[in-house]
């Protein structure tokens, strides 16, 4: 039997017709599209707002504040909803969330993507976004870690993080970078992100790398089971402790200063907010090392710069059931955080005044 195993793969082409080929292709495409559409109805959307969405929101509106930060900044979409409902749409908050975070990436986004819109003027010479008063920078310890030089690209002030091309660049930024550095693994991330954007309506393409579709298909829910959640928390506890030597990278702290300075240059009141942590992920050692180091660095910078600083790490009303994973909130958590923030530290957004 094994004497007859073919010695050539793939086999030579078998005769077929154009009609057959087109039928196969059409039914294959129809299958993919059909399943994609079915999944989009069957499963909750896994649409995660990205930088481009925040920039588009800022371009379309005249908000009182921009909330800039990592993926956790998405929580503030709920703040925008509350304010818009209360004010009949007069008071809005634009949310610019950067997947995979990093303060230096946020500083880049502020300077390159947001600043032109903030400074945009009408025919009368006045700023188009005249309501804009505040820049709220939402961050946590993760954002301050030294970007791995193998992942990013060394720049003049450290390492430009790996998420910059795929999450924050425009096509012009990509072209400029290729012209300067050649097409490499760093700027290639822009092409990968552009490819995914081509199929932006596809729930299958959007979910790649997140795995949320499978969870919904298998278990009928977006959230992890309690057992999975606790297992993930266990795993994160050690990594947060181990990150103590890596937080407060000088380049990232300089980026935080740049954010503050640039916000002021733009006539905005900067505010620094430390996002609530899922306290179950924090060992006592992590609290005393990783978290304390970052708190002290951020608070110290805010104090020297004279900007409001709110540390929500331990003080929020959020509990385990409000988190969908080790660090991000579920819908209930977003709503709870929004209500609590607007009733307390972010109350100034309601009256739109500079704090």
């Amino acid at each position: 039997m094994l004497d007859s195993v073919p010695t050539v793969t793939p086999p030579p082409p078998r005769p077929t017709s154009w009609r057959q080929l087109l039928l196969v292709a059409a039914f294959a495409a129809a299958t993919v599209v059909g399943i994609d559409r079915w999944l989009s109805h069957r499963c909750q959307g896994v649409v995660l707002a990205q930088v481009d969405d925040g920039v588009a929101q800022l371009a379309a509106e005249d908000p009182v504040a921009i909330v800039l930060g990592s993926s956790q900044a998405r929580s503030f979409a709920a703040v925008d909803e509350v304010l818009a409902a209360e004010s009949g749409g007069a008071t809005r908050v634009a949310t610019v969330a950067i997947e995979d975070g990093r303060i230096s990436t946020a500083a880049w986004v502020l300077h390159h993507r947001l600043r032109p819109l903030i400074e945009q003027r009408g025919a009368d010479g006045r700023r188009l976004r005249s309501n804009l008063r505040h820049l709220i920078f939402v961050t946590d310890w993760w954002d301050s870690m030294l970007a791995d030089a193998h992942d990013g690209r060394p720049d003049g002030d450290g390492v430009a993080s790996r998420n910059l091309p795929g999450r924050a660049w425009t096509f012009g930024d990509f072209v400029d970078d290729v012209a300067a550095h050649g097409y490499d693994d760093y700027n290639k991330a822009f092409v990968a992100a552009a490819f995914a954007d081509l199929f932006g309506d596809s729930v299958l393409v959007r979910d790649r790398g997140y795995g949320l579709l499978l969870r919904q298909l298998r278990h009928g829910r977006l959230e992890m089971s309690r057992a999975e959640h606790l297992a993930q928390i266990d795993g994160k506890r050690q990594s947060i402790e181990d990150s103590a030597p890596l937080v407060c990278a000088p380049a990232e702290l300089r980026a935080l200063q740049r954010i503050v300075d640039e916000a002021r240059e733009l006539g905005l009141q900067p505010t620094i907010v430390l996002y609530p942590a899922l306290v179950e992920t924090l060992s006592e050692r992590a609290r005393q090392t990783t978290m304390r180091r970052f708190h002290d660095a951020a608070a110290g910078l805010a104090a020297r710069a004279g900007v409001p600083f709110f540390d929500w790490t331990y003080d929020s009303p959020l509990r385990l059931e409000h988190f969908r994973d080790h660090a991000h909130l579920n819908a209930h958590g977003h709503a709870l955080l929004a209500g609590w923030a607007l009733a307390n530290d972010l109350a100034f957004l309601r009256d739109g005044k500079k704090q």
Binding site: P10, R19, F27, A194, R208
Partner: protein
């Protein structure tokens, strides 16, 4: 750019669209292919593209000079010097200088492809290629430049002389080959690696069965990675109306090492035997008739081609020794057959076949250890564990519980099973199913890949060689 990253899905449709919209003239098609191939290569490095163009020009000129009959030996020596010199410099200068150079992408492959051409012209097997366009396209053809398959001049150059015609069976089989290769390269290789990485990273921690599982997993990973990539290359070439040679042919059914090396990385081994082994044993030099030594030399060369470190040399040596032992066994068995006809029958029994299959595969799996291990010390640690002379206490067998890893192994097994004669009709039956049914199956496969293959999961182990 590789053949399965996001940028390829922008690049490839553009290449195909213009290629088939051009007038059906070989020169136009070759010109477009060459431009696209150089863009493909430049996406990795523009300076190294210049190097590629330069060495292409050298071998083009050498070929013409050989054809003109002038200074044949010095010209061939020049080609050897330039090609092997570059290859040796980039791959092995680090051993002398202590600072290793980044290997130009595809250097190991296009060097052999060009050297094969100049050798064939030198030996009078083929006339020199007069068209610089065709020759440059032959060298730089983008589906194969990174990691083969390595074409012989007589396979590819004649195809480039003729205009390629668009036929539906080429698109159908090309797309199918690409899709199958994509599954192997991005899914199977990715999840097979779960059996491998932890153990090879810290072999002293793990017990014998875990080390065997890691070696087995690595064999599957390398096969999936490289055979998958080869299928993608062959598939893309078919979409362009060009046939590349097969590079893998169900190697896990091999019942002897000679058979294995006729089924695994076929084009490299073909090159080594055609241009090193055969001239050695049939030439007038010292190696004439010394088959065993020539085999050892060939596999040592293969090991060194893969890498400059001692584990690769050990790997080559082991393969060579195994090959020679196999040849001695076969020779001895033939002697027994001549004395007693019963040995002829016994060799044809299922038990003999099964024993031969298991021994061959076990040998290959065991020799995957030096192929992957970081050092000879790690090789020793793993072999001690594998052969019951030591080993750590930790087990990694739990990695087999992962559904996706099992599915990856199942796909590779199914790929091999469908090649068996009793099951080959299944493939024929599938091809004869109504087009809508086949379309739905392919669509489901694409959905499977979108769900289970995260971005960036493709690697190409062999592009590092």
């Amino acid at each position: 750019m590789s053949l399965c990253e996001a940028d390829t899905f922008f690049f490839l449709p553009l290449v195909l669209a213009l290629y088939w919209l051009l007038p059906r003239r070989a020169a136009l098609q070759n010109g477009w292919l060459l431009l696209c191939s150089w863009v493909f290569y430049a996406s990795h490095s523009v300076p190294l593209l210049l190097l590629l163009v330069l060495v292409t020009a050298v071998d083009y000129a050498v070929g013409l000079g050989l054809g003109a009959g002038r200074a044949r030996r010095p010209l061939f020596a020049l080609s050897l010097l330039v090609n092997l010199g570059l290859l040796l410099w980039f791959k092995y200068s680090g051993l002398l200088t202590g600072a290793s150079l980044a290997l130009p992408l595809g250097l190991s492959y296009y060097t052999l492809q060009k050297l094969g051409y100049t050798a064939d012209v030198y030996l009078g097997r083929r006339p020199p290629e007069r068209s610089p366009l065709r020759f440059a396209t032959f060298v730089a053809f983008f589906p194969q430049i990174i990691a083969g398959p390595i074409s012989q001049a007589d396979e590819l150059l004649p195809q480039l002389e003729r205009p390629r015609l668009l036929r539906p069976e080429l698109l159908a089989s090309g797309a199918a080959a690409y899709l199958l290769g994509f599954v192997l390269n991005t899914f199977c290789a990715h999840y097979a690696a779960d059996l491998v990485t932890d153990v090879f990273a810290a072999p002293a921690r793990y017990d014998g069965p875990s080390c065997w599982l890691a070696a087995f997993g690595y064999a599957v990973q390398v096969f999936s990675d490289f055979a998958g990539y080869s299928l993608m290359a062959i598939g893309i070439a078919r979409l362009l109306g060009i046939e590349l040679p097969a590079n893998f042919a169900y190697p896990f059914w091999s019942r002897s090492l000679p058979e294995f090396w006729r089924r695994w990385h076929i084009t490299l081994n073909r090159w080594l035997f055609r241009y090193i082994f055969t001239p050695l044993v049939t030439g007038s030099g010292w190696f004439r008739g010394r088959m065993a030594l020539a085999v050892l030399l060939v596999f040592l060369a293969s090991g060194i081609w893969h890498g400059s470190t001692l584990p690769f040399v050990l790997w080559g040596l082991l393969q060579g020794i195994g090959f020679v032992v196999q040849q001695r066994w076969d020779h001895g068995w033939r002697g027994l057959c001549r004395r007693d006809r019963r040995f002829v029958g016994w060799r044809r029994t299922a038990a003999y076949s099964l024993a031969a299959l298991l021994l061959t595969q076990l040998f290959f799996v065991a020799t995957m250890v030096p192929f992957k291990a970081a050092s000879l010390a790690d090789v020793g640690v793993m072999y001690q564990a594998m052969f019951g002379l030591g080993g750590g206490g930790e087990s990694h067998l739990w990695a087999l519980r992962a559904i996706r890893t099992l599915l990856a192994l199942a796909i590779v097994a199914a790929y091999h099973l469908q090649a068996l004669p009793p099951l080959q009709p299944l493939t024929t039956r599938f091809v004869r199913l109504p087009a809508p049914v086949r379309g739905v199956v392919y669509g489901l496969l694409v959905v499977f890949l979108l769900i289970y293959v995260p971005p960036g999961s493709s690697t190409l182990i062999y592009q590092n060689f």
